[in-house]
């Protein structure tokens, strides 16, 4: 019988074709949605005074880029929000992993801290934003703090659960092979918790952005959150959308980076959606 596997070039062509199909349909959806919004606004069915319109959003972005915003350069404001979210995210992820893995590996400590963790997790975290502004002032630190608390808990709980779910047989095997408690933690438990941890990182960057922006709503001198609050105060829906668009770009870029990182860290896993031969 003839061996007629698909050649690499054919597989590649199939994949490219599939991707082009998906992307053109995605584009079609966007055009349809934005187009009908534009038409409805132009015909005054949707009042552009309240609802804005796509052309107005693009115009607003153009103005911000060329002339800056009422609170300074658009790039400076976007950058402020981005680094507040990023610092909060990194701190939350790192401390969440450390505490989660540590407590899961030390059941007595976990038992002692359990009620405190439950209580602090039950505090509506956005309320903390006001407290942080009071404590830490109008600068970036209060926003980083809010982003941090929003990121910390989901990462912590996932790291904790992932660690608890580590296969006892693998731990036993590692110990018989000579692993110390520390090596069991770093070489066995942490890798098996990694898929849980990266899963929580996907949602967490969104939380970090929420933390930064809500913090800016509550009191700030710069940032996209403040820009949104200002636009809202001026009845400028296009300004709100334009800032939202910038935030969405940040979130999508971060999501892409996290996915890359995940692929690297978890390359030992069986591929879920394999790129080859369907």
């Amino acid at each position: 019988m003839a061996e007629d596997f698909l050649s690499d070039a054919e597989i590649k062509r199939k994949q490219t074709k599939h991707r082009i199909n998906v992307h053109s349909l995605q584009l079609a959806v966007a055009v349809a949605l934005l187009g009908s919004w534009q038409i409805l606004a132009d015909k005054k069915i949707l009042d552009p005074f309240f609802y804005g319109r796509p052309s107005g959003v693009m115009h607003q972005l153009g103005v911000w880029i060329q002339h800056g915003t009422s609170i300074g350069s658009i790039w400076v404001n976007a950058w402020v929000t981005l680094y507040e979210a990023t610092y909060g995210f990194l701190a939350g992820v790192i401390l969440g992993i450390i505490f989660g893995v540590f407590l899961a590996r030390n059941p007595t400590a976990a038992e002692i801290f359990a009620p405190y963790i439950k209580v602090s997790n039950s505090i509506p975290r956005v309320v903390l934003g006001s407290i942080f502004v009071l404590w830490l002032g109008l600068g970036s630190i209060s926003k980083v703090a809010l982003a941090f608390v929003l990121v910390f808990f989901p990462v912590f709980f996932n790291a904790f659960q992932g660690t608890r779910e580590a296969d006892n047989k693998l731990i036993a095997n590692a110990r018989l092979l000579g692993a110390s408690k520390r090596q069991v933690t770093t070489k066995i438990v942490f890798p098996s918790a990694l898929s849980w941890i990266t899963a929580s990182m996907h949602v967490s960057f969104g939380f970090a952005l929420i933390g930064a922006i809500v913090g800016e709503f509550l009191g700030a001198q710069r940032g996209l959150g403040l820009l949104i609050a200002t636009a809202q105060g001026n009845f400028n829906p296009n300004g709100v959308y334009a800032a939202m668009l910038l935030i969405a770009i940040m979130a999508l870029t971060a999501e892409w980076l996290i996915t890359k990182l995940e692929d690297r860290l978890l390359k030992w896993r069986p591929t879920q959606v394999s790129g080859t031969e369907h």
Partner: protein, 271 residues
């Protein structure tokens, strides 16, 4: 050259909590000894408690009553002189074949320059050259089993516990691994406790074959295998002597297998 350890089970009983909340007794007053350097095969019907006995000896679990001791000291925790080949896959999914095989020396803090050739040697012995960079999920069941064997044997354990180590292997690999195990055992002089369902394999390899009763496991019989060494595992099976031993042990084992089988038939209608 490592020296084998002395093993003793004294009146060992072990019970487990069942999902329903009551107790299930897996071992009942289990008594046997293994001399340093002895190769003992443990046979018995499925579910009788063979794996349980190994986990107690490895220090992964504690006995409920009685004592398991190694060289006169009660086993209270895992001891790295012990090597364990698990019945079910226990390779590390995030480590390549080479890193899995080298895990023991690495954990023990050996110099990579020293143990890397050793890793390569073991990969060759288990026939996995060319697969060094593969992850376990990219291997077949038998290949994973061979990784597990190399992973345990590379540390030259003084006490080697093997739970059906060859069950997933094809006939050829099985006989190669059997010969490897024999050579290793003859050169290191380690004590081996080997669980198998294959009575021929047990007789061909072991100095003694211990037959356990249907659960809770007790020692039903203890056979000394007086076949001359070195043995050619592949040819010995056809000698008259071998067949006689086989007959004797099978007679005893068959009763227990029947009991276990009957129980399986009754069990569902009991509740």
């Amino acid at each position: 050259m490592s020296k084998g350890v002395h093993v003793k089970f004294s009146n060992v009983s072990k019970r487990f909590r069942t999902p329903k909340g009551d107790w299930y007794q897996a071992l009942k007053e289990l008594n046997f000894e293994i001399q340093p350097g002895e190769f003992v095969a443990l046979v018995g019907p499925t579910g009788c408690g063979k794996s349980t006995a190994l986990t107690l000896l490895a220090g992964l679990e504690q006995s409920s009553i009685g004592e398991v001791s190694v060289d006169g000291t009660a086993v209270k925790d895992i001891d790295i002189r012990t090597g364990f080949v698990f019945q079910h896959d226990a390779t590390f999914p995030w480590m390549s074949v080479a890193n899995n095989v080298g895990a023991g020396p690495k954990f023990r803090g050996l110099d990579p320059k020293e143990y890397r050739p050793l890793v390569q040697k073991w990969i060759a012995k288990v026939g996995l050259v060319g697969f060094e960079k593969h992850y376990p999920h990219q291997l077949s069941g038998g290949m994973k089993k061979r990784v597990a064997l190399a992973q345990a044997l590379i540390n030259e354990p003084q006490l080697l516990l093997m739970d059906e180590p060859f069950s997933a292997l094809d006939v050829q690999t099985r006989s190669i691994m059997t010969d490897e195990l024999m050579t290793l055992w003859e050169t290191t002089g380690s004590t081996v406790l080997f669980v198998t369902h294959d009575l021929e394999e047990a007789i061909a390899l072991a100095d003694r074959v211990i037959v356990l009763t249907a659960g809770p496991a007790q020692v039903k019989a203890d056979f000394k295998i007086e076949l001359a060494r070195p043995r050619k595992a592949r040819e010995i099976r056809f000698t008259e002597e071998f067949l006689k031993i086989y007959q004797n042990i099978w007679e005893v084992l068959r009763d227990e297998v029947d009991i276990a089988y009957q129980r399986q038939l009754i069990a569902p209608s009991e509740k």
